[in-house]
């Protein structure tokens, strides 16, 4: 690896450490940096602050880090596999499927009179419904995309399935109570704070496995840059490689969406920034690069969404979209070959 890349990696790692800790500093109450450090080391006497940092902020901070890394790597794999610069986890209908699962759970359960006494946002039922929805829609898209070899057709079918799902959700919304509707809408805002400390272990486990799996797929991904025909004549079993990539990307994006709600644009935008910064197309470099940069961006979005010093919490999905949309426009202007 070139010296330049090592320096960029080092700078990114330091930046990640800083923004990660800043997530623990900022919030409705801003806690001094030195105090945060001593809380983390277990030598703080301030119990209130200690509780805020460990119980309230640490799970969200970890979720932001994991979600950013996982979604960005998942987007990178999608873009390479579909050879499409605007592909992202949404191509496989992962957000749409998760949304459908959650919509059915929240709205149907209130419609038939089940009252949820648990706080729904952090409950396992939401996570399972989202994961189930994501996997179901992913399997449908996967079955179709395996029959078609046409990238544009797959993208259009993905959009159409997404459209159909939105329609289903709208119908559900129209026949449901205001309370359930509000819960669903809050879920679609996306947040890194849905998870508690006991759940974060599961998210961390799945994400780390997914990231290691992703790195191991570097060689097939590099060959797929050339297209299926070159990849096949380079000795790659293209069908099997694509199946593994789809599996990997859906594990990452599916579980993250299940835990954090839909987080838009991160998976789409970060890979482009990584490619430009590292001036590389090699997945052995881009996979760790996307993981680091995605983690940094989501940590920053988490800080922004907490609007330090106030009691407001802004939707993370809105912030990532505000940040991501200009990047996508920049990609299109730069490439002008969509």
């Amino acid at each position: 690896m070139q010296g330049r890349n090592i320096i960029i990696f080092a700078v990114l790692a330091i930046a990640l450490a800083i923004v990660f800790l800043l997530q623990l500093v900022f919030g409705s109450v801003n806690i001094p940096f030195s105090e945060v450090l001593s809380i983390l080391q277990g030598n703080s006497n301030n119990e209130a602050w200690s509780n805020i940092v460990i119980e309230a902020r640490l799970p969200g901070a970890l979720a932001a880090l994991l979600a950013g890394a996982g979604l960005s790597v998942s987007g990178l794999q999608m873009q390479t596999m579909f050879r499409n610069p605007v592909a992202g986890p949404y191509v496989l209908g992962i957000s749409a499927g998760a949304s459908l699962g959650v919509a059915i759970l929240i709205m149907a359960s209130t419609a038939i009179g089940i009252t949820n006494e648990v706080r729904l946002m952090s409950s396992w039922s939401i996570i399972l419904a989202a994961a189930l929805g994501a996997v179901l829609i992913f399997l449908v898209n996967f079955a179709i995309s395996f029959r078609l070899n046409d990238v544009v057709a797959i993208l259009i079918i993905g959009l159409m399935i997404g459209g159909g799902i939105s329609a289903l959700i709208e119908i559900l919304q129209s026949i449901t109570s205001n309370e359930a509707l509000k819960q669903y809408v809050l879920w679609t805002f996306g947040s890194f704070r849905y998870t508690n400390l006991s759940q974060i272990g599961y998210l961390a486990g799945v994400t780390v496995v997914g990231l290691v799996f992703s790195y191991a797929l570097s060689k097939p991904l590099n060959l797929l840059l050339l297209g299926d025909t070159y990849a096949t004549t380079s000795g790659l079993n293209v069908q099997r490689a694509k199946m593994m990539i789809v599996l990997c990307t859906s594990i990452l994006a599916g579980s993250i969406t299940a835990f954090c709600g839909p987080i838009g644009f991160v998976g789409l935008a970060v890979p482009h920034v990584a490619r430009s910064l590292f001036k590389s197309a090699d997945h052995r470099i881009l996979t760790p690069a996307c993981a680091l940069m995605g983690a940094i961006i989501c940590c920053i979005c988490n800080i922004v969404s907490s609007t330090p010093g106030t009691d407001y919490v802004l939707p993370v999905n809105a912030i990532t979209s505000l940040l991501g949309a200009p990047i996508v426009i920049w990609i299109i202007l730069k490439q002008r070959r969509l």
């Binding site: 060689k219 025909t229 070159y230 004549t233 380079s234 000795g235 590389s280 197309a281 052995r284």
Partner: protein, 238 residues
């Protein structure tokens, strides 16, 4: 040495024969132009020879190995290809692109060892691409890109290299340049090169034989001779 042999080959898709009864043999150092009108089955034959699709019947042997019976990786050590289709990859430099040709030989992560690096360097030297190796693939001219694609195929170190219309998008000077490069490769590196083309004059100047797929569904080999072009055209357009 006989590098490539095919006997009673029927090529096509499923059970539909596109072109029947093809037999030929090629030696190392042969540079062969494949001629025929659009839609006659040139691409189908080239795909079959590349191991991308199975022949409907008949057999192909390359370096005394039967192509059908090999694994994907072993096929990749016998045949490499250069396609007409445009490739868009952002942020990849020529050297890294060329090095992808080592894929059949590298480990699961695709790491190049010293031997791989030496082979990549050798190919860059043979193709005179020293000035190009740090250039980004997407910033290259059509001619430069074609040379980079050929260099990638050479890195695969296969006895047979197949090119689908390698001169299609090139201007006159670049056409000559690419065909001359291919001729040097076939002669000096003892490769068998097969390329489809519609530029009959330019191709016949450089190749030592041509294969013609004519509209009577005959597969005819014509050797280099004094009236090579005239003979080829007579068979092609009776």
């Amino acid at each position: 040495m006989m590098q490539l042999q095919a006997s009673s080959l029927n090529v096509g898709y499923g059970s539909k024969v596109v072109f029947p009864n093809i037999s030929f043999a090629a030696n190392e150092g042969d540079m062969i132009a494949l001629l025929g009108v659009n839609g006659i089955g040139k691409s189908t034959l080239l795909r079959t020879l590349s191991g991308l699709q199975k022949p409907i019947s008949g057999s192909i042997t390359i370096a005394e190995k039967e192509l059908d019976k090999l694994s994907a990786v072993d096929k990749a050590k016998l045949v490499s290809i250069v396609l007409t289709e445009r490739i868009y990859i952002d942020n990849i430099r020529a050297r890294d692109f060329i090095a992808l040709g080592r894929a059949p030989y590298t480990s699961w992560l695709g790491q190049l060892n010293d031997k791989d690096e030496a082979i990549v360097q050798e190919v860059i030297d043979v193709m005179h691409l020293q000035k190009l190796e740090a250039k980004f693939f997407n910033e290259m001219s059509d001619g430069e890109r074609q040379k980079t694609l050929i260099a990638r195929a050479l890195c695969q170190q296969t006895p047979l290299i197949i090119l689908d219309e390698p001169t299609a998008f090139l201007d006159f000077r670049n056409k000559r340049d690419i065909l001359g490069t291919l001729k040097n490769i076939s002669e000096e590196l003892k490769k068998t090169i097969i390329f489809s083309t519609h530029d009959i004059e330019a191709a016949l100047e450089h190749c030592n034989k041509c294969w013609i797929m004519n509209e009577q569904q005959q597969f005819i080999e014509v050797m280099q001779s004094a009236n090579f072009a005239a003979e080829a055209k007579r068979i092609l357009e009776p």
